[in-house]
Subunit: 199 residues, 2 copies
């Protein structure tokens, strides 16, 4: 395993508030883990009742922007069944139960693109879809990434590509990277890449 | 209604691919519209069968970064039940069936913060969560936004705040804006704000 990533200062703040204006009255389980979905009956702040269908808090995912020793980015194109399309993304994947976030990032880097990193940097975490999901995404930059053979799961259809950083950011600014979370990771990484003279 | 927004050049490209490597064999409906969720039995590219729980394509949402005539940003803090937290966001909301995206943006701007815009600019659209959702998000910048009283739905708990743009971008860079889609909209808007001398 490579050196352990640190965490970003905002990660401990991605938690529920101390006070809740809505009250859960009843819950129906629509689907079990790992893609747990529920329908709650809720007492709203105004006193009236409502229904809310959503994915509860619990699931976490890591995102990794891998940078090679030559200063290139490793991007993937992955087939995404819900969209019926191949989508350009950074490395990403779900965190397993009880798994450390840094361990998950190193594991996904190895599995998806066969990468091993010399140095890690944590970026701000975020909620990808607050209206419907309690999932939290934790992004990293991985530097000095050496590539070996990937170990994709048989349920994954992934093409790896190594691109010059100016080309990746040209695509980002032009709106050619359709994956929102990957785009956000790239934007948060930009300042660090510029500071290191890589962009 | 204010002048109609144009669309971004990437919007017509946010569609399924012509060829699909996976084949849908069977489908169970887990929840009906507007938050439709399904469980599909799928023939994967390698020939084996799998299950996939997801939200199918169809739902769309608009995002709006409102800028006042004085060059401030209008942000909201909205209670998000799936997270149990108030989250800082730009204006956003679901597009109604058959509704034009520009109309939805103007409607949400008026409903959520009581805003009416003099000028609109479309930003790159994106997929917020390709692994689990077919939803597509369409963002806008709204300029010259004059604020009146908001018309929040009784199921929404929203606080409006008007902030100096440098403060909003300080929060963004520091990882203090936890909503991923709002953060991405702000990053895509940055260049235009700088070009106009507003940031």
């Amino acid at each position: 395993m490579p050196p352990h990533p640190t965490e970003h200062p905002n990660w401990p703040r991605l938690i529920p508030d101390a006070e809740q204006p809505w009250q859960t009255l009843d819950r129906t389980e629509l689907n079990g883990p790992p893609r747990r979905l529920v329908r709650d009956t809720v007492r709203l702040h105004g006193g009236q009742e409502g229904e809310y269908v959503y994915r509860p808090r619990g699931p976490r995912a890591v995102f990794v922007l891998p940078i090679t020793p030559a200063g290139e980015a490793v991007m993937i194109r992955e087939y995404r069944y819900p969209l019926g399309a191949f989508v350009s993304e950074v490395v990403a994947g779900g965190v397993e139960a009880g798994e450390d976030l840094g361990h998950a990032a190193a594991r996904e880097l190895l599995e998806e693109v066969g990468g091993v990193a010399a140095e890690w940097l944590a970026l701000p975490g975020f909620y990808p879809q607050p209206s419907i999901s309690g999932v939290v995404f934790y992004p990293f930059m991985a530097f000095g990434v050496v590539l070996q053979a990937a170990h994709n799961e048989e349920s994954e259809l992934i093409e790896r590509s190594v691109l010059a950083l100016p080309e990746v950011y040209r695509q980002l600014d032009a709106g050619e990277i359709f994956d929102g979370p990957s785009s956000l990771v790239l934007f948060h990484a930009r300042r660090e890449l510029e500071a290191r003279g890589l962009l």
